[in-house]
């Protein structure tokens, strides 16, 4: 009789525990728990060789097309189709192509407090812009006075989001396409480039 009471209380206790604390319930099945993280750990520990191979295998078909000694669209691939396919990947931010945070745009373009450095945008590596930033590259055209050229901000946005929609196989990274910059961040850069008060346009 006594033991039956204890057993009932015990069962009830388990029921309570199980009902209130799903975590405790998991602890009741140690076998399962042990197996899972081991599998997960194995997955995490890929060899450096495997990881590098995966990274190279991530090459998309457009990158593959450009991987020739001229680094241009090869014969046999229609440039217009290439452009159209790239244009189709461009996603626009809900708030429009002109962002609101011009300061953030400037930081992403190249932080003037850090000599124009910026890890993700890094525009000064190839373009000149703000006359204060002397260490600017000449691979891309200078962007001084960019906002005064009558360029549609939408085209600026597309060029930054996916430069290959404009010049296929260009050296300019497809920053939005790869997710290096979000649509909102690109919109802020566009706003900075078109802002009449931006140092680019003064």
């Amino acid at each position: 009789m006594k033991s039956a009471v204890v057993a009932v209380a015990f069962l009830a206790g388990i029921g309570l525990l199980a009902g209130c604390q799903p975590a405790a319930q998991k602890a009741a099945a140690p076998k399962e728990k042990k197996v899972e993280p081991k599998k997960a750990e194995k997955k995490k520990k890929k060899s450096a060789t495997e990881r590098f191979r995966t990274a190279l295998a991530n090459q998309d078909k457009w990158q593959k097309a450009c991987s020739n000694p001229n680094q241009l669209v090869p014969e046999g691939i229609d440039v217009e189709t290439f452009r159209k396919e790239m244009l189709a990947t461009v996603k626009f931010p809900p708030g429009g192509v002109l962002g609101k945070d011009v300061k953030r745009g400037e930081k992403l373009f190249g932080d003037p407090k850090k000599g124009g450095r910026s890890r993700r945008g890094n525009c000064y590596a190839c373009h000149c812009g703000d006359p204060q930033i002397l260490a600017c590259g000449n691979i891309g055209p200078s962007l001084r006075g960019y906002g005064k050229r009558g360029i549609d901000p939408k085209d600026t946005y597309i060029k930054i989001y996916n430069s290959w929609a404009v010049v296929p196989c260009s050296v300019m990274p497809r920053l939005g396409y790869h997710g290096v910059l979000t649509p909102e961040e690109i919109a802020d850069i566009v706003a900075y480039m078109h802002d009449p008060n931006s140092p680019l346009n003064k």
Partner: protein, 275 residues
């Protein structure tokens, strides 16, 4: 205001001109002065490498000199022919991999011994960089003469050329887009050299002032891949970043072979000296 603008543009022009001038020279002038004074920091690595070569005993009692002769007498000119296929490891090896194979195969070091790998793999370790610099310096004054006789060498060369022009990663880069197509332009103020045409392999391993270290070509090639933004799944997830190819891997050696084959005929002059 007008004056200031003029001054600024003059300054910019000066900086650009200066940068272009230094990009064209092999060794910047302030480093050239050091060379003339006989103060090449890379020579310390050569001396250290020679010392290690002659005295470091592996677990089975052999030194590098036991097989290759005192001061590497039998290794003269070896570096000028590398990377090449070696029957004993059945692979095309560059200098770094060749030294690693010698130490593990013939000197008795355990390739899985962490202490050994630390001394070998690390940039400031005592084995790889000094030994590589020393062995490379034994080919000074000789012409680079890399042959593609073995099928493995041919295959790897092809792989290297392919990899050189391969656009990949979140920045759509390849080695070739900057170092073949856009040569002569600048990334910020740094001129883009053409390591293939300019036969820069003649002065590698090189001592770089910027990092205050000796770099072997293995270090150089691997570090280049940091700019690619390579990733496994998503580039902005830190766990997915793939910064460098694994050391002594075929990818690295393929690129080295591609560059060094192009440098055939150039005269080895190591250690080099760079900004």
């Amino acid at each position: 205001m007008g004056k200031r603008k003029l001054l600024l543009s003059a300054l910019t022009g000066g900086v650009i001109l200066g940068a272009v001038a230094t990009a064209q020279e092999q060794v910047p002038s302030h480093l050239q002065e050091l060379l003339e004074l006989g103060m090449h920091p890379g020579h310390a690595y050569v001396d250290e490498g020679r010392e290690t070569f002659n005295t470091l005993k592996g677990p089975n009692g052999k030194t590098c000199a036991s097989c290759h002769g005192e001061d590497g007498a039998k290794l003269e000119g070896a570096y000028a022919k590398m990377p090449r296929y070696y029957t004993d490891i059945d692979r095309v090896a560059d200098l770094d991999l060749r030294i690693l194979s010698c130490m593990t195969k013939y000197m008795g070091f355990d390739p899985k011994d962490k202490k050994f790998r630390k001394e070998f793999d690390k940039w400031n370790g005592r084995y790889r960089v000094p030994l590589a610099t020393f062995v490379a310096s034994l080919s000074n004054g000789m012409e680079i003469n890399v042959k593609l006789d073995d099928p493995q060498e041919k295959e790897l060369y092809k792989k290297g050329e392919e990899l050189w022009f391969m656009r990949v990663g979140a920045r759509d880069f390849s080695c070739g887009i900057c170092h073949t197509v856009l040569t002569g332009k600048r990334i910020r103020l740094q001129g883009l050299p053409d390591p293939v045409k300019a036969k820069v392999y003649t002065h590698w391993p090189a001592y770089r002032f910027g990092s205050d270290k000796m770099w072997t070509m293995e270090d150089r090639v691997r570090s280049c891949f940091k700019a690619y933004f390579l990733y496994e799944k998503k580039w902005d997830e830190k766990k997915d970043w793939v910064k460098k190819p694994p050391p002594y891997s075929d990818w690295v050696i393929a690129l080295e072979l591609y560059m060094k084959y192009a440098a055939n005929g150039g005269v080895v002059e190591v250690p080099g000296l760079l900004r």
